[in-house]
Subunit: 339 residues, 2 copies
Amino acid sequence: MTISIVDIARIAGVSPSTVSRALQDHPRISPERRAEIQRLAESLGYRPNQMARGLVTGRSYMLGAVVTDITDPFVAEVLKGAEAAAREAGYGLLFAMSNRDPAQELAAAETLLDHDVDGLMVISSRAPHRYADLPRRGDRETNAQTPVVLVNNGVAGPRLFSVRMDNVGGAREAVAYLRRLGHRRIAFVAGPEGGRSNRERLDGYRQGLVANGLGSATELIVQGAGLPEDGPRALATLLALADPPTAVLCYNDLAAIGLLAAAARTGRRVPGELSVVGFDNIPLSAYATPPLTTIEQPTAALGRTAVESCLRALAGGAVADVVLQGRLIVRESAGPCAR
Amino acid sequence: MTISIVDIARIAGVSPSTVSRALQDHPRISPERRAEIQRLAESLGYRPNQMARGLVTGRSYMLGAVVTDITDPFVAEVLKGAEAAAREAGYGLLFAMSNRDPAQELAAAETLLDHDVDGLMVISSRAPHRYADLPRRGDRETNAQTPVVLVNNGVAGPRLFSVRMDNVGGAREAVAYLRRLGHRRIAFVAGPEGGRSNRERLDGYRQGLVANGLGSATELIVQGAGLPEDGPRALATLLALADPPTAVLCYNDLAAIGLLAAAARTGRRVPGELSVVGFDNIPLSAYATPPLTTIEQPTAALGRTAVESCLRALAGGAVADVVLQGRLIVRESAGPCAR
DNA sequence: TTGAAAGCGCTACCAT
DNA sequence: ATGGTAGCGCTTTCAA
């Protein structure tokens, strides 16, 4: 039989209230009693029932995370940062996957909310505008709704916060770097259409071209899905151009690695004949052939910051939207322009 | 204010019990009332409070997963399978990371247990023997302890189950394949020392050598950690041998990809001069240069099966330990022996 | 078929 | 400093 607070009270010859106080280091209890009861609880292997506690305090001490696909290295890294931060604060992390589908995403969010998470994070939402009027439980005292933090795809709203990276700046920096290497024909392999970060990176790419005195050309932008599978098609399309690019910026590392593999297969030397720059700096990008030059996502920081925003909102504090900077990681897939 | 079962009862002019029955499709209620109440609840945006429900039923409808590092592609895939299975069964998934540290692992398990998970899965445990006497809450009715399923590192015990892949068979198959390609000097880059799957794969490697009439040699086994970082050192060590190997089986794909990168950097052609076989079939292995031949882990199936075992144990059914087979995925990193 | 009432394990308020 | 008591939102007997 599981041992409860009443059992301890009976054995110690005190009331349940006293035991409760002893266990949560309440000030109004004598130090000896507290020590004695804590020792007893310890020796009995007592573990508090969080559901009972939660029922009265109105807190579950769980945060929820809705993710597109935990198998995506970017998502995994963000989640890793979030988990660490949550655990440090004594919170558990409940997660659910959307498989990149808006309907599944909303359903996942509701499931987590049903499990009474105290706060919700959504990583790379595919339906950011739907959270403003998602039914959320109100706090019993303050009547404030469960805070929602949109990671990497934010829109403002009541009790709706956002944490994201500066995609525009990152892409612009990548283009500037390629220009410094002498490249003038720079292509872009786009990611999932309609996605916000794709739009921003595309913007940054365009701004980068303009800022560096390079005209943009529609033919240099090819559509992809942010997957390694994009590589072969993108490469074929770009190389078939009358005036093919000497450098390619990819929406993300996954696509860039697919591109690298396709180039190797078709005997195209990188960076000799073609420079490739990725985006995200996933762990394996350092071990690609050649090692991938890329824009680093502040992944762990995104997750950690999201948790902190949740917690701050929960504590009733003011929460500002956060924009974190990425950084260019120079490796070997981009080099001087040969032409 | 959040709406509760009593609110609905008041509005509908019935008792809370009736509402409760209507909401859970209880048989002893008139169909019209049920429909009416369900409609009302729906329109009011009612969401049941799982904590209150859990407090009385003794179930949280959450499963826990302790993982080493969610950033490890293998772990992520297993978790993905588990999440899908859990969600289909109406369960949420709470997870915590151990960072490969036994102490953190046990702490994580206790945290999840404290959050009242109905069942616990531990993926790639670093302390499998500690679960037999981990204090677990007993079921209120049957008094059965919370079931624990060890994924990929199982030991039997009371309410302790295991789901794993056949590592020995997989490694043996890889060696047999390399032998068929003509290789006779086959090396092994080992993974984390003391790990069970490392031991099993090493066993399979040795058995494979024997079964194919090849003597084993200590010098052909180099220690690693199952990370891309293993690559450079392993390659250097093996190529420095008087009689270097013509093929290498790696503990996992991460190490194999590191090896591939190291080979490319030092101008070693793969598979021309050296054949490389990985283990796990992580998503990116197909996009390595060259695409990696590997033994597939039935990852999603492992996660799914783990959840099913948990649920079966929860339902009071008999649970057998499960061993799932891997499969050889032939790609391009292994070829005929040139010598 | 429905309602009343007890109680899940805990916290927090009001007494003392 | 401690105990009594109410109640969190729900399910589940037991009666009607």
